[in-house]
């Protein structure tokens, strides 16, 4: 197999696939994170009574508490999803392209 030149990598279908996939997943996860966080902020700004509702009858904890903690945990889970994808797909594609150019 002939080695690809660095200048030609951009047109290589595998590189195109790799950059497209990476951009797509980064964009989706970024938008998700923005929706989660600014959704939380919007709740605080526009619907305080919802956050003030009790979790269970007779209990004291409000819905706002698990929602805030959930925002933190979910943010971390999103980074985990990215890592999972990158380890499984991205690294493989990078290796494939690198092999082509003998780098």
């Amino acid at each position: 197999m002939s080695k690809l030149k660095k200048e030609d990598i951009l047109d290589d279908p595998d590189f195109k696939d790799l950059s497209k996939q990476k951009n797509t997943i980064s964009t989706i996860l970024t938008i998700l994170e923005l929706v989660i966080y600014f959704g939380f902020i919007a709740l605080i700004a526009y619907n305080k009574p919802y956050l003030a509702q009790k979790l269970s009858e007779g209990g004291s904890a409000t819905k706002g508490i698990p929602i805030a903690v959930g925002t933190i945990i979910l943010s971390w889970v999103l980074t985990g999803i990215y890592i999972w994808w990158a380890n499984k797909k991205y690294d493989v594609l990078v290796k494939k392209v690198k092999d082509k150019i003998g780098g």
């Binding site: 966080y37 004291s60 706002g64 943010s75 990078v94």
Partner: protein
């Protein structure tokens, strides 16, 4: 009555602290022998693993302000403190998805390397260095003043001595041990902080029968429903969004955080380190919130605010209540170590902007040997350290809370947009980047000065106090009249009753009633006059020229807009041609250092 030894010289705290200092100085000695090249000094020889860098990133980010401050905010304001802790975390996923890998693949030591990758070196490096140094200095002042105050509270050391000790140690770590020592100081500090906070939460939950429900029930019993609901912290939606934006994207523009990505061997380790860092920081904030609620119940707001109005001592007080003097001493030492680690990271980031970007990139036009660059970085370290000590002492007793908001607003507006556009946008040009950075910087600073945070709380603080006193006086007078009117109305009711019952006295009673009514009218008139006066007094209340507390939403938008417009007006063929090369290196890391 709860007894506390906080504020007195605490031998246990000092013993723990001395142990920490000796250990870290030992590490610095070890690191000094391994620090020769610029790669060692700025980037720890790129020898840090993803996990280690995750801890170090967490160490850089978890400041004493977030440890003591958020626990304090939760203990005094309840749910509102929780809102803050969420805001501090959400920038990390953004760093991972948009910044970490390209940053690692494209740069060498500073984020300016990435912005300048295919643009003209000198103007870009000058602008990026300006952005970095302003961020580092504002954050450093906030940390130093906080350090002096906290150390005075916890160890009983005088403010100035605390600042000099902090500054001296910080200079030693960075000067002799460079990034290797700084990284290990961060790792040890992060481990101690996470361990200490975990132990404190275990002891707290133990007192509530391992039930969060019980903790919240008791908190509600003591401080009412409102304590567990969002309150007055977020008033206007746009203000909340603006602060949220600054926190989120400011995290992704902090030079001392961005710099850490060059300490790992490759992009894979860089993204891994964000995953660990996000986990550690998120876990830490959840602990901190628990500590805050625990302190509110087990120590009580009265005692917490009696020691420090801002509630900063909630965590240490809880440690004292649950684990006695030894645990208090340990936690105080950890808080001191936390401050030290954060200021060290900041100083190193500032020194690298001064030497790598400003000296080598701008003054020497990219030509300088390693020895010279390391030497300049070391001089910059000492200079910055002395600056930090002097500024810390100069700002003693000042309200510096706004500086943290300013730091994040500038980082989000000056650093982040230029960095993101240089990675993503082919048509980005030198002129676009330079104008974007300076616009973000200027707009953030100017708007913050004109915002309520500075314009009212600091610049016109005395006027506000004066007007508030006037209004209070008028309110008191108005309240007095209200009482008189109520009294008159009671008499009217009584006279009415007499008029109804006894026909004989009806005329007299009616006459009295008319008199009383006239008095009520007169009093009401007086009251209205007072209301008018109050309005007049209120009109003299200084108003902020810019309405939002944090300028993030406008300064970020301005930086992006100017960057895009100027780039479109100054098309740069050479830069576009190099984009292909940048893209290849960004995605697959070929040629990455």
């Amino acid at each position: 009555m709860h007894q506390t030894i906080i504020g007195q010289t605490n031998p246990v705290a000092i013993a723990f602290f001395v142990l920490f200092v000796l250990t870290t100085l030992g590490i610095t000695y070890w690191a000094a022998k391994r620090t020769r090249t610029t790669k060692d000094f700025y980037a720890a020889g790129r020898s840090i693993t993803g996990f280690q860098n995750g801890l170090a990133l967490a160490g850089d980010y978890m400041s004493a302000a977030s440890f003591l401050g958020i626990a304090g905010l939760v203990s005094t304001k309840g749910y509102d403190g929780l809102i803050y802790s969420v805001g501090w975390l959400v920038g990390w996923p953004i760093i991972m998805f948009l910044i970490s890998e390209p940053l690692r693949n494209l740069g060498k030591y500073t984020f300016a390397d990435v912005v300048a990758y295919r643009l003209q070196q000198r103007p870009i490096r000058a602008a990026a260095a300006a952005g970095s140094i302003v961020v580092v200095l504002t954050y450093l002042i906030a940390q130093m003043v906080g350090a002096g105050t906290l150390i005075k509270l916890m160890f009983g050391l005088p403010f100035e001595l605390a600042i000099v000790v902090t500054g001296g140690l910080m200079i030693s770590y960075v000067l002799f041990g460079g990034m290797i020592a700084t990284t290990w100081v961060q790792i040890i500090k992060a481990a101690l902080l996470l361990g200490g906070a975990t132990l404190l939460v275990i002891l707290t939950l133990n007192s509530f029968g391992w039930s969060y429900g019980e903790l919240f029930t008791q908190a509600e019993k003591l401080y009412g429903n409102k304590f567990l609901e969002p309150g007055g912290l977020v008033t206007s939606p746009i203000d909340a969004f603006s602060l949220g934006l600054a926190l989120m994207f400011g995290t992704a523009g902090l030079p001392h955080i961005l710099m850490r990505f060059y300490t790992v061997p490759d992009a894979k380790a860089a993204r891994k380190s964000v995953f660990y860092a996000t986990g550690f920081i998120g876990y830490f904030y959840i602990l901190t919130v628990t500590i805050g609620f625990g302190a509110a119940v087990l120590v009580g707001q009265k005692i917490i605010m009696g020691i420090d109005k801002g509630g900063n001592m909630a965590g240490p007080l809880l440690a004292e209540a649950l684990g006695g003097n030894i645990f208090l001493g340990f936690l105080s030492a950890v808080a001191f170590a936390t401050i030290l680690a954060v200021v060290s990271g900041l100083t190193l980031a500032g020194a690298s902007a001064l030497s790598h970007d400003l000296y080598v990139g701008v003054i020497r036009r990219g030509v300088a040997n390693e020895k010279e660059e390391v030497k300049v970085a070391k001089i910059a370290t000492v200079g910055l350290g002395i600056c930090a000590i002097l500024l810390g002492i100069l700002f003693k007793g000042q309200n510096v809370a706004f500086l943290v908001g300013l730091t994040f607003a500038i980082a989000a507006s000056a650093n982040f947009p230029a960095l993101l556009m240089s990675i993503m946008w082919k048509k980005f040009t030198t002129a676009g980047a330079v104008t974007s950075i300076y616009t973000g910087l200027a707009v953030a600073v100017v708007l913050l000065i004109l915002s309520p945070t500075v314009w009212i709380d600091i610049v016109h603080k005395d006027d506000v106090t004066k007007v508030q006193a006037q209004i209070k006086e008028i309110d008191a007078a108005s309240g007095g009249i209200d009482a008189q009117i109520a009294d008159l109305q009671k008499q009217i009711v009584a006279a009415d009753a007499i008029a109804k019952m006894k026909k004989k006295e009806k005329v007299a009673a009616e006459q009295k009633n008319a008199e009383l009514q006239a008095s009520v009218t007169a009093k009401t008139g007086e009251k209205n006059a007072l209301a008018a006066k109050k309005k007049e007094a209120g009109a003299a209340m200084p108003k902020a020229i810019f309405p939002l507390k944090n300028p993030g939403i406008y300064s970020m938008a301005a930086a992006f807009l100017i960057g895009i417009l100027v780039s479109l007006m100054t098309p740069d063929k050479a830069s576009q041609d190099k984009f292909a090369d940048e893209k290849v290196r960004e995605y697959i890391g070929i040629g990455a250092e």
